[in-house]
Every structure is written in structure tokens, then in C-alpha cells.
């Protein structure tokens, strides 16, 4: 830096000296040798004389200024260029006139002035450019300042080594490389209670303690490499303890912005969400466990009732009267009904416990298999089951089969006196993410006030049948597991259409909506 300054100053001073010598020689010749009046001679040399005056002044200014090297160099270059051009032109003009043997001072003045004007124009243009650049810089600075001041994040401008050579080891926090705060924004001051005092000049870690030693070292390492460093930190603020993401963005030479973004709310809701999910998972698991244990452990006493009633009948049947027989029939009926309920409960709990992975399945194939399984039942009531071509969906194949089976069985079980006609169809929605299946029957329909209740466990919608009312509850559970919906559209007396949606093939949606249980 200093070397370039010396060179520039030397050049200016040298040029000035050479020019002064030339002018003095010329004046000496004109005045003393040729006997011209002194003022003519001085007038002729007025331009170089001006330069002789200006150059040392410029050299002095440069030498004493603390501007940057680039500034010094450009001023020097400009001066030398301007002076050189004018000298060249002046001597060219004078040379020609001398060659012609006749000096025309007016001509010299006109020509040199023209060149001076051009040089002035160039210099002016240059200055304008500089001004413009300064304007742009100012605008950028303003822009940055506005952003810095109004940012919702707390921002600290940091220096990792003082440019004045002040060693940060002298800071009160002792030896170490603690970055020093250059300035902070209003958000920072508000948050860390520095509205009335200025934290500038203090080590960052004194103002905001780091969480651990590693953090300091890592911060320093990142700044030295010029990498952005991100971490999370909890700090005590005017609004109490808060969580922040700290982004350390290095710029320039060992400098960085520390940006503290308040993520307390985010953290809090995240924790809450995690807790809720946890609780849900636990309660779901417990429910699962309950359903399983209930169905499993209920079998035991039931078996006792049933076996011993049987035994009573086998061994003492002959000794019992008609009334006792009737009692036994009721006991057996009750036990059998309970048996069915337990089996259903087990089936219901197995929707989650014995589930398979989702895969791409051709719904038509699944339905065909289901219809084969139901062949006997269909023939028994002389039902007609028709279906459209069904698309491929992403589902648990067994459960999709169970869905079709339960819905078709439901339609058969609740058909009126006429042989039921059942039709299965599917529609893919516009966004192609879901398939809407429907199973329509021509049965007696379901009154509107019962249409939601029928999906509840052990709910039979007030209809008279010997089922336990778990079929539709199982359907709902299966559909839920697939992230779909199930509902019924029905007008009393005009049949019902059960709808359910399943994720269409080759969408990832199903995976995200599948509850991760067990």
C-alpha cells in the first residue's frame, strides 16, 4: 500500500520538476536570449506553469491522504495522462510554429485550450462515473441498512480479528479467539436488552454465551474456511428463554454476520406435535392391545360356559324337563352370539396387527377372487353381482379383498325379499391420486339418520339380522389405514351405494398418510 503511494507521489513530483525545468529554460531563452518581454514569455508558458504549480500540490495531497491505494493510483494516472497530453499537444503546436519560423501565441492558446477542454470533458465524464458508482453504492448501502435494521432476526456484525491490530486476547473473556461485535440491529438490541447500552466492541460470547466450547471453535473454523455455519442455541432474552437457529455467514476478511432466528414457537409446536403423536401412538397401541386381549381372554370363560352346558346336556339331558331345555337353549344361544362378537372383535383388531405392506394391486383381480369365495352365499340368495373394469390401486391386497367381501356380504344380508342385484364400479378422480369405488345394491336402503352410525363397531343400524355389526366397522378401519374415506349414499327404499376411496397406483401419497403403527 505504502509502496504504491510512494511511487505515485514520486512520479507526480518528478513530472513537476521536469516540467518546471523546461518552463524555466524556455523563459530564460525568450526573455534573456531573444530579448522578448518577460510577460510574453510567461504568458506563452502559462499552461505548463499552472501544471508546475498543480503537480507538487497534487503530490502533497496524495502523500498526506489516507485514501486507498486504488484511489491514489487512479488520481496519479489521471493527472499524468492529462498533463502529458497537454504538454504533448502544446509542444507539437509550438514545434510546428517554430518550424514555420513564426510563433502565433493565439493559436497556441486556442489549441491547448481545446485539448484542455477535451481533457476536462474526459475528467468530468470520469467523475460522473465515479459519482454514479458512489450513488449506486449509497443505494445498496441504504438497501442493506434497511434490511439490517428491520430484519425480524437479530443480526450481529462480527469481526474475528480486529483490523486495528488490537488483539482480541486482551478482551475481558481472556485469551481465545472470541469474535468481537462491531454492530447489532434493533431486533438484537430489543431481544438481548441492549437498547440503552451499545454492545459494540464487546466479545460476542460475553453478550451471548455459547452453548459449548466446540461451538466457538467450530464457528471460528467455519469463518476461516468461509463456510456458513448453522447451529441451534437456547438463550435467555428479555422475553425469557428462547430457541434460536444461529447462522454465521462469513464475508470479507475474517468477518461474519451472526443471524439469530427465533424458532421458539416452532420448537414448541414441534415438541407438542411429537408429544401428541406419541400419545396417539400409545393410546392406539393400548386400544389394539385391549381389543386383542379382550377377544383373546374372553374366549376362555366363554368356552367354559359352552362346554359345560354341552356336557350338562349330554350327561343329564334325559333328566331335564322342557323348561330346563329352554333355559339351556338360551344359554347356548347367548354363548354362540358372544363367540361371534369375539371373533369379530379379533378381526377388527387384526386390521392393524396383521396388516401387510401396501402394493400395487389390480382391483378387478381382487374382486374376482372375493366373488369366488362368496360363490355359495351368492348362489344361495340368487344374487347378481356385476362389476366394471376396476383400476390398479396401492393397497394391502388382503384388506382390499376383505373390503369387497364385507360390502357385498352386507348388501346380500340386507337385501329385501327380492334376489339382490349388486354392482361394483370405480371412478378415478381428476388429480389421479384417488380411486372412488362404489358398491351399489337395490335393497331397502338406509334411513339418513343411520347412515353414519352404521360404521360404528357393533352398530347394526337398527336392522334386523344376525350379524354383529362389525363388518362395516372393519371396512372403515381398513379404509382409514389406506388414508381413504368411506361413506354411504342411500335413499330409504331405493337401495344404497357404499363408496370408499383408495390411493391410486404409483402415488406416494398412501405412504405418507399411512399411520405408522406397530
Amino acid at each position: 500500500m505504502r509502496a504504491s503511494k510512494r511511487v505515485s507521489t514520486g512520479l507526480l513530483a518528478g513530472t513537476g520538476t521536469v516540467l518546471a525545468g523546461a518552463v524555466l529554460f524556455d523563459v530564460y531563452e525568450d526573455w534573456l536570449v531573444q530579448g522578448e518581454p518577460l510577460w510574453t514569455s510567461l504568458f506563452e508558458n502559462s499552461l505548463p506553469l499552472l501544471l508546475v504549480g498543480v503537480l507538487p500540490w497534487a503530490a502533497w495531497r496524495l502523500y498526506s491522504s489516507d485514501r486507498s491505494a486504488a484511489y491514489t493510483t487512479s488520481v496519479t494516472k489521471g493527472t499524468l495522462l492529462g498533463a502529458g497530453t497537454m504538454l504533448l499537444i502544446a509542444s507539437w503546436v509550438v514545434g510546428i510554429q517554430l518550424f514555420q519560423g513564426q510563433l502565433k501565441p493565439k493559436m497556441i492558446v486556442v489549441q491547448t485550450t481545446t485539448v484542455g477542454a477535451v481533457a476536462g470533458l474526459v475528467a468530468g465524464y470520469n467523475t460522473a462515473e465515479v459519482e454514479q458508482a458512489r450513488e449506486t453504492t449509497k443505494r445498496q448501502k441504504h438497501r442493506f441498512e434497511s434490511l439490517f435494521a428491520n430484519s425480524p432476526s437479530a443480526i450481529v456484525d462480527l469481526a474475528f480479528e480486529d483490523s486495528d491490530g488490537r488483539d482480541s486476547a486482551t478482551s475481558p473473556t481472556g485469551p481465545g479467539d472470541d469474535p468481537v461485535i462491531e454492530r447489532t440491529n434493533a431486533t438484537f438490541d430489543d431481544l438481548f436488552d441492549y437498547v440503552d447500552t451499545d454492545p459494540s466492541g464487546r466479545p460476542l460470547f460475553e453478550v451471548i454465551p455459547p452453548e459449548s466450547r466446540e461451538t466457538r471453535e467450530e464457528m471460528r473454523a467455519h469463518v476461516e474456511r468461509g463456510d456458513v455455519y448453522t447451529t441451534e442455541t437456547t438463550q435467555f432474552t428479555t422475553e425469557g428463554g428462547k430457541d434460536f437457529t444461529l447462522r454465521l455467514v462469513p464475508y470479507g476478511d475474517r468477518r461474519a454476520y451472526a443471524i439469530y432466528q427465533d424458532i421458539t414457537e416452532l420448537k414448541r409446536s414441534q415438541r407438542e406435535l411429537e408429544r401428541t403423536v406419541d400419545q396417539l401412538e400409545r393410546s392406539n397401541e393400548q386400544l389394539q392391545q385391549f381389543a386383542y386381549v379382550a377377544s383373546h381372554d374372553l374366549q376362555e370363560p366363554l368356552r367354559m360356559v359352552k362346554s359345560y352346558v354341552d356336557l350338562l346336556e349330554t350327561e343329564y339331558g334325559d333328566d331335564l324337563d322342557e323348561e330346563a331345555d329352554e333355559y339351556m337353549t338360551f344359554a347356548v344361544d347367548g354363548a354362540e352370539r358372544m363367540q361371534r362378537m369375539i371373533d369379530d372383535l379379533l378381526q377388527y383388531s387384526r386390521v392393524e396387527t396383521q396388516a401387510s405392506e401396501f402394493e400395487e394391486v389390480d382391483a378387478s383381480d381382487v374382486l374376482e377372487t372375493t366373488l369366488k369365495d362368496l360363490e355359495l352365499r351368492i348362489a344361495e340368495v340368487d344374487a347378481t353381482v356385476t362389476h366394471d373394469d376396476l383400476p390398479t390401486v396401492r393397497a394391502d391386497p388382503n384388506q382390499l379383498g376383505q373390503l369387497f367381501q364385507n360390502l357385498i356380504k352386507n348388501a346380500i344380508d340386507h337385501a329385501g325379499d327380492e334376489p339382490p342385484e349388486i354392482h361394483v364400479s370405480a371412478e378415478q378422480d381428476e388429480t389421479d391420486r384417488e380411486v372412488d369405488f362404489s358398491v351399489a345394491d337395490d335393497g331397502p336402503g338406509i334411513p339418513e339418520d343411520q347412515q353414519e352410525r352404521i360404521f360404528e363397531i357393533f352398530e347394526q343400524g337398527g336392522r334386523d339380522d344376525d350379524g354383529t355389526g362389525i363388518g362395516l366397522a372393519v371396512c372403515q378401519r381398513i379404509v382409514n389405514r389406506h388414508g381413504g374415506d368411506i361413506w354411504v349414499e342411500s335413499t330409504d327404499g331405493e337401495g344404497s351405494t357404499f363408496h370408499f376411496t383408495m390411493p391410486a397406483a404409483s402415488t406416494q401419497q398412501a405412504e405418507t398418510s399411512e399411520p405408522q403403527i406397530q
Binding site: 376362555e300 366363554l302 368356552r303 367354559m304 359352552k306 362346554s307 354341552d310 356336557l311
Partner: protein, 145 residues
């Protein structure tokens, strides 16, 4: 083979109702048998190892094992039994009210010789016990003691 020696069957079962049912069913079977009953897992192992009150009891030809028993459950009994060089050859039939897949899998993993779910009605139970008796004590050839 009906004139062969009576067979010894060990029934490990805590529910007296089931003990009675099994007895009834075996009474109606073709084979002459001695049914020995233990009510928990610890008793089962004591019986098999002729410990304490079971010092003079005969080694069973077949073990009927309930999975859910107090003190030491059927799974633990199975594990100990099948790890014991002396006892592992005695066929063990798990006879339980559970038809849970995990119980079935677990039992076979522990080298149970068969897994049966107790039927709900007595006729069914009778049938199962008869089939069992016939298969394990008449059809299959077992290693000599």
C-alpha cells in the same frame, strides 16, 4: 395295540374346568391312560425332573401344555423342556385357547410338536383329544425312553 400298558399323560393346565374336560374326554377315549395333572409351569418342571412331591412319578409319554399358566408360563416351560437333553424327546402338544398367530409361531419356534386350539364346545373338544391320543400314542412311532 389296545392291550398295551396304560400310557402316562401329563396335563399342565391351571383351569380346573379344562382339567375336568380333558379328563372327561380321555375317559371316553380308547386308550387306557394315567392322567397326571400339574397346575403351573414350575410344577410341570418339578414333575418332569422328579423333584419334591413328584419324586416317584412316571415319565410321561405325552405332555399337554397350556400356554397361559401362573408362576411360569407354557412358553418358558417349552423352552426349558426342549433345552433339556433328557426331556426334549417327550412330545409336547400345546393345547390352548389362543389362536393368535404369534402364539402359534412362538410355540413352534420353541419346538412344540403340535399346536391345538381348544374348541368352544364339548363335542369339538372330545374330537380333538381323541385325535390327539390316536395320533401321538398309536400312529406315530416315538423314540424309546
Amino acid at each position: 395295540m389296545t392291550d398295551r400298558d396304560p400310557v402316562d399323560i401329563l396335563l399342565a393346565e391351571d383351569n380346573p374346568g379344562d382339567v375336568k374336560l380333558t379328563k372327561k374326554a380321555l375317559e371316553q377315549g380308547k386308550l387306557v391312560n394315567n392322567l397326571h395333572v400339574v397346575n403351573d409351569g414350575v410344577g410341570t418342571m418339578a414333575y418332569l425332573r422328579n423333584e419334591g412331591e413328584y419324586a416317584d412319578t412316571p415319565r410321561p409319554d405325552l405332555i399337554l401344555l397350556d400356554l397361559n399358566m401362573p408362576r411360569k408360563d407354557g412358553r418358558d416351560v417349552l423352552e426349558d423342556l426342549k433345552a433339556d437333553e433328557e426331556l426334549r424327546r417327550i412330545p409336547v402338544v400345546v393345547l390352548t385357547s389362543s389362536d393368535a398367530e404369534e402364539d402359534v409361531v412362538k410355540s413352534y419356534e420353541l419346538h412344540a410338536n403340535a399346536y391345538l386350539t381348544k374348541p368352544v364346545d364339548f363335542d369339538g373338544f372330545l374330537e380333538v383329544i381323541n385325535t390327539l391320543e390316536e395320533f401321538w400314542l398309536e400312529v406315530v412311532k416315538l423314540p424309546p425312553e
